[in-house]
Symmetry: C2
Subunit: 194 residues, 2 copies
């Protein structure tokens, strides 16, 4: 007997693509978020599956289960839009499709990822912000990493900062001054390593 061992190849998982289309079509949405003057339709089940914070807010004992719309004050519409897409697809829009790909955009996204406990989005933001680290930005980005509990980014920023060629320049930035004032424990840690 001759077995042809040319095996059947299974394509990669396409759940993200499918949920992205669900978000586009808005079939069966059961919650809406009002952010400034914009409204975003979504599915409670998807949000709860992806974020333990949404799960508690939407299905926990103190849940807003009966509220058809929820108003958010701690996020911008542009950030919420990107976060919502990430929740459904596990991807960010391509850089040239992002309305804003500034360092501040990724700061806002990191803040939102921390607020809603979206761990993978935090790492994606850490990666984007790490790409933007230079002697001019390292102190500011380090402060964000500390504020939003992003250990991956914090460790890398400290490693970068303590290199002599780097800290000799970074210490003259406003970001560094704010770091000294707001995060003395980080300064103590770096002092040991310099």
């Amino acid at each position: 007997m001759i077995i042809d061992d040319n095996c059947v190849l299974v394509p990669p998982s396409n759940i993200g693509t499918h949920l992205g289309r669900l978000l586009d079509h808005a079939d069966g949405t059961d919650v809406s978020f009002i952010v400034d003057n914009e409204t975003f339709q979504a599915h409670r089940a998807v949000l709860a599956a992806r974020s333990p914070v949404f799960r508690a807010e939407l299905f926990g004992p103190m849940s807003e289960a009966t509220m058809p719309s929820i108003t958010l004050h701690d996020i911008t519409p542009a950030t919420f839009k990107v976060m919502l897409r990430f929740i459904y697809t596990d991807e960010l829009p391509l850089e040239d499709e992002l309305e804003d790909s500034s360092t501040e955009m990724f700061q806002n996204l990191l803040a939102a990822a921390d607020r809603y406990a979206l761990d993978r989005l935090k790492i994606v933001c850490a990666q984007k912000l790490w790409d933007k680290v230079s002697v001019d930005t390292v102190a500011t980005i380090l402060a964000w990493a500390e504020t939003y509990n992003c250990q991956e980014l914090k460790n890398r920023c400290i490693d970068f900062f303590v290199v002599e060629e780097n800290f000799k320049k970074a210490i003259f930035t406003d970001g560094y001054a704010l770091l000294v004032l707001k995060f003395p424990e980080i300064i103590a840690e770096m002092k040991k390593r310099v």
Copy 2:
């Protein structure tokens, strides 16, 4: 300036894991399926995202949108359970966690995947069935591939069948006799190639 180029590594997408937990916790389920005497809770949005057939049935103009429970007659509970898990996770249970990993189980799953237009599940079933192809089973599996519109599996079964060492044995099986009776076009196609 020295840039440490040790980049931040982003782990693979975990949507399937998250939706798998959603299925386990059954937070916010909004539809149930009755299959024989078993009841399965699910989320309309997830089903619609993954299957165009569920989308039409649950959200289309003729939809069963207001029905809290739907009774299915064309599937077994064991098959529905595995299909539902696949819809949420894009994975089959491990072989030793499957209650039944027989050829018939994958036939039933292929039938269900065809019924609900779950294209990736069809390919996964094709892969499993292809592993079970031998001179004893090729004719039966070829008939299933034709019945459930699985071109990948059909082509491979035909390629396997037309090898002289194989068809000299396969033609003596009941599966082959049924193939001759039910699918004359396949027989005509093979006749040309033998």
